[in-house]
């Protein structure tokens, strides 16, 4: 929504300046913890997330099992750390792929007249399908796997990115310096790298972090309703889904993955909000 108002060249900002923004700083800090937890899971006092121990069954958090055990006796702490891998991978992949595809579709629609009409109608149609439902329809047919989850969420995010890119291209084409560049026959790749991409990078970066956040949420929701990551892979959505049947007696099974999930999404959204602030010329003028 707010992304069209963003326009700035990110080159003018240094990484340090960006990190000094309090919201971004907190977001990055939380994300760093999450990423370290997921990547270094094997060395952080975890056991095999699939190993069963009858002693741990439904046990509340203790010194042995920090986050307690689940209904078949697996260690919730280990599963929470490993589960982060799925969420972060889905978030990162969906954000990258949909930005990439959306950029291509948006550029095509913005520059090639006849593509615009057709492609944008298709995008309108895709956008009319609420994202979880589109993913559900796709996964029901292709079967649950992390790859299919990524594909399904990407399909519903691409239209939003391509719309953003298309409108940026169309408004840039009106601007005198771009018009002039087109008239004098600047080669397309030069036009792209000199004028179009620098002006789309900022909004795309912001959009990318929102997509990351929403992909993490959607993956968890899909797994929760049984149409996401297959049950044999630990993921936060799966863990909550398993915990929901016993959550009155073992709330920790829902609580820990739930908190991890909420914190991750919060962190990414904070980074997105912060970036939007920093890239917004009105904000910087203050």
């Amino acid at each position: 929504m707010a992304s069209p108002s963003v326009s700035a060249d990110p080159d003018a900002l240094t990484l340090g300046q960006v990190l000094r923004h309090p919201t971004i700083f907190i977001g990055v800090a939380i994300m760093a913890v999450m990423i370290i937890g997921a990547l270094l899971a094997p060395w952080l006092g975890t056991v095999d997330p699939q190993s069963l121990s009858p002693l741990r069954r439904l046990k509340p958090p203790s010194a042995e099992a920090w986050f307690g055990g689940d209904m078949v006796g697996r260690d919730v702490f280990s599963r929470t750390l490993y589960g982060g891998r799925v969420s972060l991978m889905v978030g990162l992949s969906v954000a990258t792929i949909s930005i990439f595809l959306g950029l291509i579709v948006g550029l095509l629609a913005g520059f090639v007249g006849w593509v615009d009409g057709i492609v944008m109608r298709v995008m309108d149609g895709l956008m009319a399908i609420p994202s979880i439902l589109l993913a559900v329809a796709l996964i029901a047919l292709t079967g649950a796997s992390v790859g299919n989850v990524i594909l399904a969420i990407t399909v519903s995010e691409v239209p939003r990115v391509s719309r953003l890119v298309r409108s940026t291209v169309l408004s840039l084409k009106e601007r005198p310096f771009v018009e002039a560049a087109i008239v004098v026959g600047t080669p397309f790749h030069a036009l792209l790298t000199r004028h179009i991409l620098p002006n789309t990078m900022g909004p795309l970066l912001v959009q990318g972090s929102y997509i990351f956040a929403s992909a993490v949420l959607t993956e968890a929701a899909l797994s929760f309703i049984g149409a996401g990551t297959p049950p044999e892979i630990p993921s936060w959505g799966n863990m909550i889904s398993e915990g929901r049947l016993v959550f009155q007696i073992a709330p920790h099974m829902v609580f820990f993955p739930g908190v991890a999930l909420a914190l991750t999404v919060l962190a990414v959204n904070m980074i997105g909000d912060g970036l939007r602030d920093v890239l917004d010329p009105n904000y910087r003028a203050r």
Partner: protein, 313 residues
């Protein structure tokens, strides 16, 4: 006005055609054999053949597409593989709980979001603004199901004020009906409220800067007449827009919320259909809910004229 509404109504036809095409074509162009996936791992060859026939996977794409589309135009969404009953009938049966749930969620969201957004704009940069925007960012970061369980834990298990799960129709009495809906509607409403509150704040900030707000103060108007009568009406269009767009999050949320609270609505029907791999039901639900979403956004579009007299159709 009427001709504009008509034109807008016509404009949603191509959108719905694309939706229908996507939903239908997935079945044909999915990699692998959908019948195998839909039948499940333990299926016998007979079952697979039956599913293949029921979905028409053995017949040409265009023929099936034509039949299916003609059917939908007559309100026939095909038959459920699991129940053997018509999808339309199943959806009609499950529609009411979902309708009540989303209606109440919308009311909660607006009641929560508008004051928050307005106060945040009025107190911009100060504590109430930070609090409201902090709520908003947490609100749309909290997964619906995590929030749902938190609320159940607090209000049902711990305090014992409200029932844990389930649904009672209004015919069972107002309190049983409402008490079962309060928590799910709140759960569903919070994400929506967070979206609306943010847009309300930024739209109000734009309006509060305007010269006519100074005029309103110069008249000696009090704070609330000024914010509500003079500012909110001018901020209404972006707010209405997000109410429409954000309804998508309500529809997605319904699927999850009904699972958390065990409500026998369309969302629950969808989840059951996924678990049973009942593809015709999924097709029907996706199509109908997308239609609802598109229609709501059409209504939003048409409402602009109510708020801005400069818009003429």
């Amino acid at each position: 006005m009427l001709s504009y509404a008509l034109r807008r109504l016509l404009a949603i036809i191509p959108v719905m055609v694309v939706v229908a095409l996507v939903v239908f074509s997935l079945l044909y162009f999915s990699p692998g054999d959908p019948a195998l996936v839909l039948a499940g791992e333990t299926a016998t060859p007979e079952e697979i053949a039956r599913i293949r026939e029921a979905l028409g996977l053995d017949r040409p794409y265009l023929v099936r597409l034509t039949e299916w589309s003609l059917g939908i135009l007559h309100g026939d969404f095909g038959d459920s593989i699991f129940f053997g009953r018509s999808v339309a009938e199943l959806m009609a049966q499950r529609a009411m709980p979902t309708l009540w749930l989303s209606l109440l969620a919308m009311i909660f969201a607006l009641v929560l979001a508008l004051p928050l957004g307005i106060i945040a704009a009025w107190q911009v940069g100060r504590a109430p603004d930070r609090l409201a925007m902090g709520f908003a960012v947490v609100g749309y970061s909290l997964p619906v199901f995590v929030l749902g369980y938190l609320l159940i834990f607090a209000f049902s298990v711990w305090l014992g004020w409200l029932p844990v799960q389930g649904y009672k129709p209004p015919s069972d009495g107002l309190w049983p009906f409402l008490s079962h809906l309060i928590l799910p509607a709140l759960t569903l409403g919070v994400v929506y409220a967070a979206l609306i509150a943010r847009i309300t704040r930024s739209a109000m900030l734009d309006v509060l800067r305007q010269d006519y707000m100074r005029t309103a103060r110069a008249k000696g108007l009090g704070l609330w007449p000024m914010l509500l009568r003079h500012a909110l009406k001018n901020a209404a269009i972006p707010i209405m827009t997000i109410v429409g767009i954000g309804f998508g999050s309500v529809i997605s949320g319904v699927v999850v919320t009904e699972t958390v609270f065990n409500i026998p609505g369309i969302g629950r029907l969808t989840v059951d259909a996924i678990l049973r791999r009942d593809y015709p039901v999924i097709q029907g639900v996706v199509l109908v809910l997308s239609g609802v979403y598109v229609l709501i956004n059409l209504v939003v579009d048409l409402s602009y004229g109510l708020f801005d007299p400069r818009i003429k159709y």
